[in-house]
Symmetry: C2
Subunit: 193 residues, 2 copies
DNA sequence: CCAGAACCATACCACCCGGTACGAAACCGT
DNA sequence: ACGGTTTCGTACCGGGTGGTATGGTTCTGG
């Protein structure tokens, strides 16, 4: 019972995700968020808790939506195809025409003040989780699928570094074609293509 | 004539650089800056203009100091050695024990609010300048020094992406050894090593 | 020894931040 | 139609932001 809410929480969360994606965690003010979501401040707090919880929920949605391609890409074989699928997927996700440039996780990872340290640590944790998943995937690959003498964890770290570097460039204006060329060059480190 | 200032502007600028490096442009408040510099607000404004000009001066100092190794590294031959020198130099600069983790330029490049858009654009411009310099260096290399079929601009973009990716990881806690392994893996994309 | 100039320190400005108290409005069960 | 409950809208809170006005202090040139 009681007065029904006049907005769709899912759609509002989507708008919040876009604002966070474009402006980062600290760069997105409550005014920016509520205006984009079409919601008043108290409604935001009643529905999503506070700014940090709203960000975490937006992050969940980002991972399960925008980054949803990862699960499938990880399964590809041989291992080089999985890596290629991941990198090209990242490149496309960071350069979508209807989405902000760059990566939500990377954008929020660097700056700014130390007040948002919990958020930064959460983002670092999630990035580390992806890196670990990739390391597991590569470690499970049949002998011969990896570059000779390469360590799976080193490869995973390298792939993540390329992805994060692309995120920086995308945020600075690099287009999809430029990112895809980076991926193609990066894959040269993986012979037997 | 007049009362002499009681601080050394060069040393104060060095302290400001460290604060900007660690906390980013927006993350560094005037209180943080003045406390680290041992200076009052009006002294800062009288000596350096305003926060943005102070940041630009810190950036100049960063490029000529911390990034000073680039000029020498660019001259190495063959071209692969120049790239290796750059990447290992970046890795070390981003993981110094007495300096903040990560890269001043990358830290400020991503977040946060759009109020600091001029600063972001300036940083993007400087990064593009480095990329262009590297592209010129590679384009001038004798035939055969580059990977077969590789475009110099693509290579330059790739190298910058790896460097920026390392900056993200360094800011997230990656140590010097981890960064150096990324460089070693990245150089696998450049055969004939 | 004094006048003018430069610097230092305090205290303040308007503005924006994340977060909330409170009353009015809209709904449901009875 | 009415009481209870939930949401909405406004207006506000303390605190921090970048930036500055003002007055006292310390120096140099004459």
């Amino acid at each position: 019972m009681g007065r029904p809410r006049e907005f769709d929480p899912d759609q509002a969360l989507g708008q919040a995700l876009e604002v966070f994606w474009r402006q980062g965690y600290e760069g997105a003010s409550l005014t920016d968020l509520t205006e984009a979501m079409g919601i008043t401040r108290p409604s935001l707090y009643a529905t999503f808790g506070n700014k940090e919880e709203l960000f975490r929920k937006a992050l969940d949605r980002y991972e399960s939506g925008v980054m949803g391609f990862m699960a499938e890409a990880m399964l590809r074989r041989p291992a080089r195809e999985a890596v290629a699928g991941l990198l090209y997927g990242f490149a496309d996700a960071q350069s979508g025409q209807d989405t902000p440039a760059g990566c939500l996780g990377v954008n929020g990872a660097l700056a700014c003040s130390e007040a948002s340290d919990p958020v930064r640590q959460e983002l670092a944790r999630r990035r580390a989780a992806v890196e670990a998943r990739l390391g597991d995937r590569l470690r499970a690959a049949p002998a011969g699928e990896l570059p000779p003498g390469a360590d799976p964890d080193d490869l995973a770290r390298y792939v993540m570094a390329v992805a994060q570097g692309m995120a920086v460039q995308a945020k600075s204006g690099a287009g999809r074609e430029a990112l895809r060329r980076i991926v193609a060059t990066a894959l040269q480190a993986w012979p037997a293509g």
